[in-house]
Amino acid sequence: MQENATGEQQSGSESCELRYLDPRALRFRQAGPTLQMTIENECTWLKVSILRVAPLSNASRYFSVRDAAGKEIGILVDPHELDADGRRLVEQDLERRYVVPLIQRIISAKERFGTVDWDVQTDRGRCRFTTRNLREDALQPSPSRYILTDVDGNHYDVPDVNALDSASRGHLMMNL
């Protein structure tokens, strides 16, 4: 039995309850591009996807595990509690799903008719992209972290603005 937000006791089978998955009971397997999951003494899902519930504010906790139809199987709070293989496979799946390059250095940022053309070095290689309305659209999940969004909807992460070199920092703050 679990207590819900109203303080009432409700059985876990009711659909208004969140299911928290026990990481010790989970086994993951990679079958080609597909991730599979087994819950001990329950069943196996031949295709699951892992979604971050709060990719900005809680990137390393709270993952929604969904079946092939997109229905939520449960919430995995902390993948570090999985076994080594499971942890690796989950991280691999997340890496595949969330393409958010980390900006390591800003080579140049040129303003042009209300847009800014960026040339950056990221953890995934060198990249050029264009942003518009950056001051309104940039996300700031924490005082020193910025998420930039380009005109195609791709996101770029500056995890710590203070860790950038001064030239890169200058380029960034001039446009924010």
């Binding site: 937000a5 109203t6 999940p141």
Partner: protein
């Protein structure tokens, strides 16, 4: 607002010269019964009612025979009607400006009529009614009659400017040291700026063109000294100006910061009546523009004023000292410049307001036309919209041209007239130099000072406007800071940390305008955990009832009780923290979805937020968004559909965990599938809570424990869904109407 106005002697004589205190009401109307302008008087004494018109008493009746007095609203005015001796009579007519007075009179006469009717029934015996206090505010200044701006009671003509000025200066008190330093820099800067023109005299008379022979070496030696002195003066003036400017920027910013914070936090604690009196834009203007004007007045205008006054006095003294005759001649064009400047600015302000008006109109038109583009295209009205745009565009063109042309015409003219003074100086001064009465250096120094003299003069022609505008803005800011909420917590308010949820309406009468009740004598007793559905046609009083439960307003008569205690005696924080609301028009703040849900309980853990979203059937759609719970929702939740916003609002209410829940048309703007999800979420939400729900779709209230049918502000029927259907009363009629409408819609599809 008094209801006994100054009676003309002729009217007093007609009425039999009522003694002091006998007259309860004596008000003048401005229309006769034929609808033409004319003066008529309504008089009510302790015993009788009279209407005096055209030198005669047109109506006279003892008060006990006056029945059903009421104000009938007409277009551009109204009429006070009553039944006298069984006959309906139109007593008096009036235009809109007098409507409030006659509304109060009608209320009093109605109370007196009810008292007379109850006179024969001892069990209903009450005291004789008194004329109610007028709690509505005047719309015109009582002194000069100038209409107030909407939502304001500031009269720019009559406000005590010196009082406001003193209060404004008081705002600088926390910063007096910095303010004094700035003023010191202004004085010093003005003094230093006097030097360069003064140095022109020795530069010309002793170096460049000496009258008496001076050795060339001396001249060469003196030249760099004087030029360096001028350079030094300029460097010092520039340094002081920069220093002063930077200090003023900081001081101004700090003052603006404090003012905005004070006004904004004061506004947050105002009651809802304040927000219905002032539209959002006007409130925002008080917090940003008016505080900005006030800041600018203190930080820019005040030092500038001091600077100009000092400059004017200092230069005036210097000029008179140098050559008083020439100075007097120079002042000849000044009155013309000042009068022209004043006239010019007045006319320019009118044209400027026209320009702003046309610019605002064009923006409003485009906003309308482009927001409603679907309607435009549905009715193929594109060409008509273009045609409608044309006069707005033309108006803006005309006003822009008028403004720019006036600007480029008047300024050169003013410059020309001002420059006449300089020409006088050249002519008279030149003759003096040629005649040996004046040196060349003195003349050039004189002209240099003259150039500095005209600026302050022009400034003084506009100082009254600057001051009036700044003080009006200041008074508007003070108006907000001085206003107290209508709905106040009692001084001895009792804490109620846990509400069971019993809600009672005890003989509640309420009207947004106290003389026009919207709810009449409503009595209702709701058990803890019960769900009540309010039904009725538009204007029946459903939303008003909800607003009273939320204590957005207080009833004029009767009381609303929570667990037996009058809600006015309960600590507002305790009550509101146990009250939850889900409205039809869901408002989500700029922020993430998680932030919006967490708004109900800032200390909630992330797991509590997810749990609340799950109960509200919102968790699934949230997680499937790329940013999940971190998805930013724009102003008013624009990134989400109506159903998604509604479910987030329900999640917010779930997290809040209220004891009393208000649902106001919560499902009326979504499709059927989404409605089912929301209905499910609501069903989970209402369990165990006292709930008040309004819904136009009567089927959505099927699960209510009781339905309360409101009609014209009164409870018409009450009971379960099935009981009311069986009764075949008002509820049954509403259900049939809705079913008929659904059939028509189905057929037309």
């Amino acid at each position: 607002m008094p209801l006994v106005e100054q009676l003309p002697e002729s009217v007093a004589a007609l009425a039999g010269a009522p003694a002091d205190g006998e007259l309860v009401i004596a008000i003048r109307s401005d229309l006769n019964l034929q609808g033409a302008y004319g003066e008529e008087w309504l008089l009510v004494t302790q015993e009788r009612l009279l209407v005096c018109a055209g030198g005669v008493v047109r109506v006279q009746c003892p008060l006990e025979r006056v029945r059903m007095p009421a104000c009938e609203s007409l277009i551009g005015g109204g009429a006070l009607v009553a039944t006298l001796d069984g006959r309906p009579v139109e007593l008096i007519r009036y235009t809109n400006g007098r409507a409030r007075r006659f509304g109060r009179a009608a209320k009093y006469l109605s109370d007196v009529a009810a008292w007379h009717e109850a006179a024969g029934k001892p069990e209903q015996a009450k005291e004789k009614p008194q004329l109610a206090e007028d709690t509505e505010e005047e719309r015109r200044c009582p002194t000069c009659g100038l209409p107030f701006n909407e939502g304001s009671r500031v009269c720019p003509v009559c406000m005590d400017k010196s009082k406001v000025l003193l209060r404004v200066m008081g705002l600088l008190r926390p910063y007096w040291k910095r303010g004094a330093l700035v003023m010191g820099l202004v004085v010093l800067g003005t003094a230093v700026s006097m030097f360069p023109p003064y140095l022109v005299k020795p530069l010309v008379d002793k170096v460049i063109n000496p009258k008496e022979p001076v050795p060339l070496e001396s001249r060469y030696a003196l030249l760099p000294v004087l030029v360096l002195a001028m350079l030094g003066a300029r460097v010092l003036t520039t340094t002081l100006t920069v220093l002063r400017g930077r200090m003023m920027a900081r001081l101004g910013g700090q003052l603006g910061f404090d003012l905005r914070a004070r006004v904004c936090s004061h506004v947050q604690f105002q009651s809802l009546k304040f927000f219905s009196k002032h539209n959002t834009g006007a409130i925002m203007a008080r917090i940003t523009q008016d505080t900005g004007s006030l800041e600018s007045a203190l930080i820019d205008v005040l030092p500038y004023f001091v600077n100009n006054v000092l400059t004017f006095i200092a230069i005036g003294v210097v000029l008179f000292g140098m050559n008083w005759r020439l100075t007097l001649l120079v002042l000849i064009p000044m009155p013309v410049v000042m009068v022209l400047s004043r006239l010019f600015w007045r006319r320019l302000m009118a044209i400027l307001h026209r320009f702003f008006h046309f610019r605002a109109r064009i923006n409003a038109f485009l906003n309308d036309s482009l927001s409603g583009i679907r309607v435009v295209k549905a009715f193929a009205q594109e060409s008509q919209e273009i045609a409608r745009f044309h006069p707005h565009n033309a108006g803006l063109f005309d006003s822009t041209v008028a403004l720019e042309q006036r600007w480029v015409t008047i300024f050169p003219m003013l410059w020309f007239i001002t420059g006449l003074g300089e020409l006088i100086v050249w002519y008279i001064g030149g003759r003096s130099v040629l005649g040996g009465d004046m040196t060349m250096g003195m003349l050039m120094s004189f002209i240099a000072y003259l150039g500095m003299f005209y600026g302050p003069l022009q400034f003084f022609t506009r100082i009254i406007d600057y001051l009036t505008r700044s003080l009006t803005a200041a008074e508007r800011v003070f108006e907000v800071l001085d206003s107290d909420p209508d709905v106040r917590e009692a001084e001895n308010a009792v804490p109620m940390p846990r509400i069971e949820g019993r809600v009672e309406f005890r003989n509640v009468t309420f009207g947004y305008d106290q003389h026009k009740p919207v709810l009449h004598n409503v009595t209702l007793d709701v058990r803890p955990g019960e769900m009540i559905g309010f039904v009725g046609q538009s204007g029946a009083g459903k939303s008003t009832t909800i607003s009273l439960i939320c204590r957005f307003y207080d009833p004029q008569e009767g009381a609303i009780c929570i667990d037996g205690a009058d809600v006015r005696t309960i600590k507002q924080q305790d009550y509101r923290s146990q009250l939850g609301i889900v409205l039809q028009d869901t408002f989500l703040f700029n922020g993430s979805i998680a932030d919006n849900i967490r708004y109900a309980k800032p200390e909630a853990t992330f797991e509590e937020i997810m749990a609340a979203a799950k109960i509200a059937n919102a968790h699934d759609f949230i997680v499937q968004k790329p940013m999940g719970y971190d998805t930013r929702v724009g102003e008013r939740g624009q990134a989400l559909s109506g159903g998604e916003r509604q479910r987030i609002a329900i999640a917010r209410a779930v997290l809040h965990n209220p004891r009393v829940l208000i649902l106001d048309e919560a499902t009326s703007s979504v499709d059927t599938d989404t409605e089912k999800q929301i209905q499910e979420a609501i069903a989970r939400l209402v369990k165990g809570r006292t709930t008040f729900a309004i819904a136009h779709r009567l089927s959505t209230l099927r699960n209510a424990d009781r339905l309360v049918v409101l009609k014209d502000g009164k409870i018409e029927e009450m009971g379960t869904h099935d009981e009311l259907l069986e009764k075949k009363g008002e509820f049954h009629r509403l259900v049939q109407l809705q079913q008929e409408m659904s059939r028509i819609k189905a057929v037309s599809r």
